[in-house]
Amino acid sequence: MEIFLDYLWVFLIGGLVCAFGELLIITTNITSARILVTFVLIGVFLEAVGLYDYISDFAKAGINVPIVGFGASLAKGAIGAVKTHGFLGIFTGGLTATAGGIAAAIGFAFLFALIFKSHTKK
């Protein structure tokens, strides 16, 4: 029963975050690049003020899977690295924490670009 409740939270919060993105698209007609940037900045902000961990505790994938989570890891990485490495952490922290995601995105994009060809929209 508890696991079901967990997944329900994930669904509801993830869905609401995405619906908020859609609302921005409908009302302001912005492009997907701007949507992604907006949500990354929201994530960075939430982590910087320390709110993110509270949300992530009960929302789990509902907030980690949206790109907000990507922004939060960038900020979290920077903060953590500053604590351990001092000044250098400002530069190394963000990318170190997100290296897996970025490398995966680049690597798989390159791989599939070599394999597949673009399809015309129907």
Binding site: C18, A19, G21, A33, V40, I67, F70, T98, L114
Partner: protein, 151 residues
């Protein structure tokens, strides 16, 4: 001057004339598709934690995101992701899968211009700003924490 007035009036007229789409169906679609993607992510995460009980929370999430990125890149390659996007809008843009799609789609599209000038150069035409803004803002946050830590 008169032109300016006419243009303003015309823009106002156009704004009123543009067909209004009903927001609720598209909001609903992006809600449930977005929610579903997050649930799939949670499922993948729980699966990894079950198979490898010794890994940390952080590692589990990294593996989950990488898996989702892989799935989205593959769906982009076979031409399915743009159809999901057409239906779900924000529901498939906001999750990390949308980020993966925005890197894979220009790579595939510009393959015809070669590997270096096509795939590699155009890879970040859409997702570039995301990384630039993300990294730059994380540096700002790091800088603020560093200054605070001095006192």
């Amino acid at each position: 001057m008169e032109d300016k007035k006419r243009n303003e009036a015309y823009n106002k007229y156009i704004k009123a004339k543009i067909p209004k789409t009903k927001p609720w169906p598209s909001l609903f679609n992006s809600f449930w598709v977005g929610g579903l993607i997050c649930v799939i992510g949670q499922g993948i995460n729980d699966f990894y934690l079950w198979v490898f009980p010794n890994i940390s929370q952080q590692t589990g999430w990294s593996l989950t995101l990488i898996t989702l990125i892989f799935i989205a890149a593959f769906l982009t390659g076979i031409g399915v992701y743009d159809q999901i996007g057409k239906f779900a809008g924000g529901g498939s843009i906001v999750p990390i899968t949308g980020f993966s799609n925005s890197i894979t789609s220009p790579s595939i599209e510009f393959k015809s211009e070669g590997i270096i000038y096509g795939i590699c150069v155009k890879m970040f035409t859409i997702a570039g700003p995301v990384i630039v803004f993300g990294v730059a803002s994380s540096m700002v946050v790091g800088l603020i924490y560093w200054i605070i830590s001095l006192f």
